[in-house]
Subunit: 201 residues, 2 copies
């Protein structure tokens, strides 16, 4: 047999190629042949490592998820000590397409999200769209900030967490749609966060 190549590395190489296409030309342009060309391999190789296109999409989605959580935790870390406030800020601002990397991630993520709209079966065959977890995490931290007196007592942590997440999603869409740039979106988000959290003394 030839070279005895590292399968996981090859799969990653191909999966990343798909993500690159998804974040530039859109996920619907990520055909098997395009992915092969982008990864610099033959069509046959893509088929060899992913028997079907769905498997390829699923693997790429997993890679995307890794990069996403990576970015979120890096963003939180960059804000200094881990407090309720920094977790909320870091999580939401990381999800906004403000720099080149986040535009890439958001574009790819949106591609998968809209794919699920049209092929719900694919989502059913594999559980766990995880925004729910994010939402309860945010709610927890908002409640903590509330008890620490950093957030007004009459806010509902769960409703507010959901609103912030939906707001961030909507802002991301508007940036991707060219309605405004990342900086403007960030200003809008920070305005809302600023009136949720009491100013730091």
């Amino acid at each position: 047999m030839p070279k005895r190549v590292d399968h996981e590395q090859r799969r990653r190489q191909i999966g990343e190629a798909l993500l690159r296409i998804a974040s530039t030309r859109g996920l619907q342009s990520a055909t098997m042949r395009e992915v092969a060309a982008e990864a610099g391999v033959s069509l046959r190789l893509v088929q060899y490592y992913f028997h079907t296109k769905e498997q390829l999409l699923l693997a790429a989605l997993a890679y995307l998820g890794e990069q996403l959580t990576e970015r979120v935790s890096a963003s939180i870390r960059a804000l200094g000590p881990v407090t309720a406030r920094t977790v909320v800020y870091g999580t939401l601002t990381a999800a906004l397409p403000t720099d080149e990397e986040s535009v890439r991630l958001t574009r790819a993520y949106t591609g998968f999200y809209t794919l699920v709209f049209s092929e719900p079966e694919m989502a059913e065959r594999h559980g766990a769209v995880y925004p729910d977890k994010l939402e309860s995490l945010l709610a927890k931290h908002i409640a903590a900030a509330q008890e620490a007196g950093e957030v007004a007592g009459d806010v509902d942590p769960k409703l507010t967490a959901a609103a912030l997440l939906a707001l961030t999603n909507g802002l991301g869409s508007s940036v991707l749609g060219g309605q405004r740039n990342g900086a403007a979106a960030l200003r809008i988000l920070e305005d809302q966060l600023g009136r949720l959290f009491r100013p730091l003394d």
Copy 2:
């Protein structure tokens, strides 16, 4: 020549068929053949009234726009006297997929919105994505409510209008994505609106 049929009515019939498909099976399922079948006409007829698919999509988008603005103004009217508050409430809640009709409209609208992501040229060939107008309209009404003392003085009308619109979009996506139902989304939106507007005495 045969029957001398009303062109505008035929075009509408076909355009509505496309919208029906877009709001059930998704816009990517709206092929020329599917639209023809849904409208109960032959493929040739669809080609006859819309020389190209792009023309068909554009016409359907126009019909959708009509229905959307119709629904928004109906929603405002239903809230009683036209005040800044009712305009903001009516506009935003009308855009939320809470009942069958709004689910249909939102689904179709989302389909077109994501289509623009992948074919930006089509959007360029025809101006006017109108969320900007909506945003400045909301900002105007928020500023008016502010002068009337119904909204706190330190809110920025433009930033807040943008945030409310993005929030509504994000909530809509979450409903369409099955993350929550329309009632829950409405609760979240009303919570935010309730803390923007001072309670009515």
